[in-house]
């Protein structure tokens, strides 16, 4: 089998890579493109550490083949900030101390951004359900939820 040649748009830039069929998008991001912000926690869709946005949809990059990325528009944690300026949700995670070891954080940030992109005024219940597929072994979740709700409030105030 020859390798697949894949071209996609990643964080607004054209990107290309070679992959085997069994490589996941997560493998390609980390090993080919060196975008190591996206983490592998479980590799089976349970933890959300590998969350990315593909054509506007939040997905687990561990459960998508790299070859499926052909022609897709992908956003990873590396594309969340505006250059040096943190995205409001990143800033609020810092302010609320919504991370300890930080391994889950990129996944939470990408998932939270995907929520705020489509729902600027989520309830606490909506935030909790939306983030139910992101696991954190450190924080106990509460600070994460507060940070997301506070981000939403600030973004609405600045809109």
């Amino acid at each position: 089998m020859s390798k697949h040649h894949v071209t996609a748009t990643i964080n607004g830039e054209p990107a290309e890579f070679l992959c085997e069929t069994e490589n996941t998008l997560l493998d390609a991001l980390r090993d080919q493109l060196r975008l190591t912000g996206t983490k592998e926690g479980c590799g089976s869709g349970d933890c959300g550490a590998c969350s990315v946005i593909v054509d506007g949809r939040l997905v687990c990059s561990c459960l998508m083949l790299a070859v499926e990325a052909e022609g897709k528009t992908i956003q990873t944690i590396e594309g969340i900030a505006d250059g040096e300026k943190l995205h409001p949700v990143q800033q609020k995670f810092l302010e609320h101390a919504a991370l300890q070891c930080g391994f889950c954080t990129p996944g939470f940030l990408v998932a939270a951004k995907a929520l705020l992109d489509r729902n600027p005024d989520p309830t606490e219940t909506e935030v909790r359900y939306w983030l139910a597929g992101n696991l954190c072994r450190c924080t106990g979740y509460d600070k994460i939820i507060r940070a997301v709700l506070d981000t939403a409030a600030e973004m609405r105030a600045n809109a």
């Binding site: 089998m1 697949h4 085997e20 069929t21 069994e22 996941t24 590799g43 089976s44 869709g45 349970d46 959300g48 969350s51 593909v54 949809r57 939040l58 997905v59 687990c60 561990c62 459960l63 998508m64 083949l65 070859v67 499926e68 052909e70 998932a111 995907a114 929520l115 359900y129 939306w130 983030l131 139910a132 597929g133 992101n134």
Partner: protein, 290 residues
Amino acid sequence: MSALSYAAPSTVQDAIGLLSGAKGIAKVMSGGTDLLVQMKMGRLKADLIVDTKKLPGIFGITESAGVFTIGAATSGAQLGEHEGLKAAWPGVVEAANLIGSTQVQGRASLAGNLCNASPAADSVPAMIAAGAVAVIVGPNGQREAPVETIVVGPGRTSLAKDEFILQFRLPARPARSSDAYLRFIPRTEMDIAVVGCGVSVTLDAQGVCTAARVALGAVAPTQVLVTAAANALIGHTLDTATLAAVDAAARAACNPITDKRGTIDFRIKIAGVLARRAAKIAYDRAGARA
């Protein structure tokens, strides 16, 4: 070098040709949320993956004369965003939306949920209760089969090696019709159904049930269409005696196993409870759709 091939054909004919001609194990892939997990765990060794997602008609939801046609690979997230489908078939949509997390919802499909053939698959009892029909394509053209005929045992379907599901069809709804799906899991998110139950009803102007379908999941090797529970509803309002009869019929239809999620006795009891509660929700929703 790997031996696993991948194809994303753009015509149904090509997809069937690839499946027919495959040496070794060929697997159709929609969202991949079951398939890729099984391949990673080594439970499945495939030689060819045929990705359906470039096929015409495989995505999207259309309605014509009250009949909904749903592309087989349409994601749970897409189903949950379709106001028309949610209004007509709230039970089917709530069942599909229970699958996994937001991330899983971005990819998980009805066809994958059905053809993975897990006894606990959430959308399947709701689809069976809805009277959903699978539109199947294969070398001999297109055929239609009721959803309850697709799964024949854990991990096994009635589809031939070179057949796959292109679409699902949900029948037109008379006035005062609705449906509901409930599952029991030990927590509120991210777990596999201990029992699932879908109920679909049509009422007359007096609130008497004129048509019903009831289906259970996770209480037998395949989902079960519980005709006796439907018959207990038809001709009645939801009085205490009717609910008791529905509960008894649902319990009688169970042939479950004991596992870490629940014992046989527990599953049987919960099947009765969920059948009653889902019937009540479907009934109230139907009454509101005069």
